[in-house]
């Protein structure tokens, strides 16, 4: 029988594509590995307890005593506040899109708008936020940073949630409608429960964009060596801390920049592991 493999064009094409895919994959993996290695190898030696438990003392940026507690807490406050605000606004938008607008003209219009907003560079959000803040007489502050970060995170969060909610099994919605639920009850009690793990991923994606962004908080949250104690205080952030330390001429301060980057990486890692754990717990009842 003619079952033996003869090398035809389609087999060759398949083999070539397989290697192209493999090479791309390895390339990405290598980049990621190299980044992590750089951050770890350069950052770990100068990552001391003092660095994460103290605020910068006088002369910190010249290589003297102190740490980046101001930036660590500032970043956490900013990103968590911004993400929380974005969830409070974004989840209702996503549910509204899926429950009532669906594929209507308005629905399409809003999705396109969000996609455009998604593509706008964060410095533009920062500049816009700052000009609004100036107009209303607000100083650079934690609150200003949180609001601008929420705006920055909203498009990506809503669109990610929108894609997630699209995967909601129609039959499951119908099961709830069949016992007399309103569309709103279905959205809040069934859809959110069923799609919880995807919703958490969307939130995480937005959080990642928020905590890693420097340009949007540069003017709006400002920078300070103190830990913010109220929403009206300015707040430091890790990406800016990294930037400032890296741009000094002193090698030991530049080392600290890598240590700061390491802290940021660890925070992001911890948050994503934490949300994974949460997502597994919360989707215990999801219908597969």
């Amino acid at each position: 029988m003619g079952l033996k493999k003869h090398w035809q064009r389609r087999h060759v094409v398949e083999a070539i594509f397989k290697y192209v895919m493999l090479i791309s994959f390895v390339l990405v993996l290598a980049c990621l590995g190299y980044i992590l290695w750089t951050v770890f190898s350069k950052g770990l030696p100068s990552l001391t307890w003092a660095m994460i438990s103290q605020t910068p003392k006088g002369g910190y940026y010249l290589g003297k005593e102190g740490g980046i507690l101001n930036a660590i807490l500032g970043s956490l406050y900013l990103a968590m506040g911004g993400t929380l605000l974005a969830v409070l606004i974004g989840l209702p938008i996503a549910l509204y899109l899926q429950t009532y607008l669906r594929k209507s003209h308005w629905g399409k219009f809003i999705r396109i708008s969000l996609d455009i907003l998604w593509g706008i560079p964060s410095i533009v959000y920062g500049a816009f936020g700052f000009s609004v803040m100036l107009a209303v007489g607000m100083r650079s502050s934690l609150l200003g940073g949180i609001i601008v970060l929420a705006l920055l995170e909203l498009p990506i969060m809503v669109r990610a949630m929108d894609e997630v909610l699209q995967q909601m099994p129609k039959d499951l919605e119908h099961a709830a409608l069949a016992i007399g639920a309103t569309k709103l009850e279905v959205a809040l009690k069934i859809v959110v429960r069923q799609m919880m793990s995807g919703i958490i991923s969307a939130i995480l994606l937005a959080f990642g964009r928020g905590i890693g962004d420097a340009a949007s908080v540069l003017f709006t949250a400002g920078y300070t060596d103190r830990v913010p104690t109220s929403l009206t205080n300015p707040a430091a952030s890790l990406p800016l801390a990294i930037f400032f330390q890296l741009s000094t001429p002193f090698p030991e301060v530049q080392q600290r920049a890598y240590a700061s980057a390491l802290v940021l990486t660890i925070i992001v890692l911890a948050v994503s592991l934490g949300s994974r754990w949460l997502s597994v717990r919360l989707s215990k009842y999801s219908i597969k």
């Binding site: 007399g180 639920a181 009850e185 009690k189």
Partner: protein, 251 residues
Amino acid sequence: MNSHIQVKNLNVFYGKSQALKNINLEIPRNQITVIMGPSGCGKTTLLKSFNRFIELDEMTRISGQVKVDEQDIYARDIDVTEVRKTIGLLSQRPYPLPMSIYENVAHGLRMHRMKKGKNEFDQAVQHYLQVAGLWDEVKDRLHEPATSLSIGQQQRLCLARGLAIEPEIILGDEPTSALDPISSQHIEKILMSLKKDYTIVVVTHILRQAKRLADYVIFMYLGEVVEAGTAQQIFEDPQMERTKGYLSGQF
């Protein structure tokens, strides 16, 4: 005939194609009505027009009347959630809600504010799980996910969930077609025991099941009702050639 549902001049369109053509029917109270007919003849569409599921699809258009106890369920001042509370649906495949076994039954009660306090909920959940013949199998695992049940058990859970909100009519769209023979028998038995209190309308493709269940039979073909009558009339003395043909397995 003491009819519970009356259908008058019902037409349903999906976009431009007409799925139901001028349907006129009466469905008897406290009996099991079986709807039969070849695939694509509009059985599901007819059932969906009874609990207003038809309107979930934006492309559909409906005209005519469906009256339940003389009330047109498509009238303007009708609350669609009340319609669906009164007319329960058991679908082809079981779709438990993403919550525990207990909550699946309790959810509707809570939504319609029918019970108060843990005791009343516990009692109602136990009662309806018993009616659905599921209590003994799940009483020690009420707070496990509903998905931990077998498909047959899930279908009985869905039945319990539907019964808990005290409907008057139960619709079943091939409710046993995804189940194994034992589970199917189980569902059939429960339906038989329920008909003294409920009006039941079931779509089935299985002739023997139809014969076991039916008090009243509706035979449909290409969106029209060809013949309707008591089980005896239709199975023993069908009048129309199409019905005869279908019953003798020509489709």
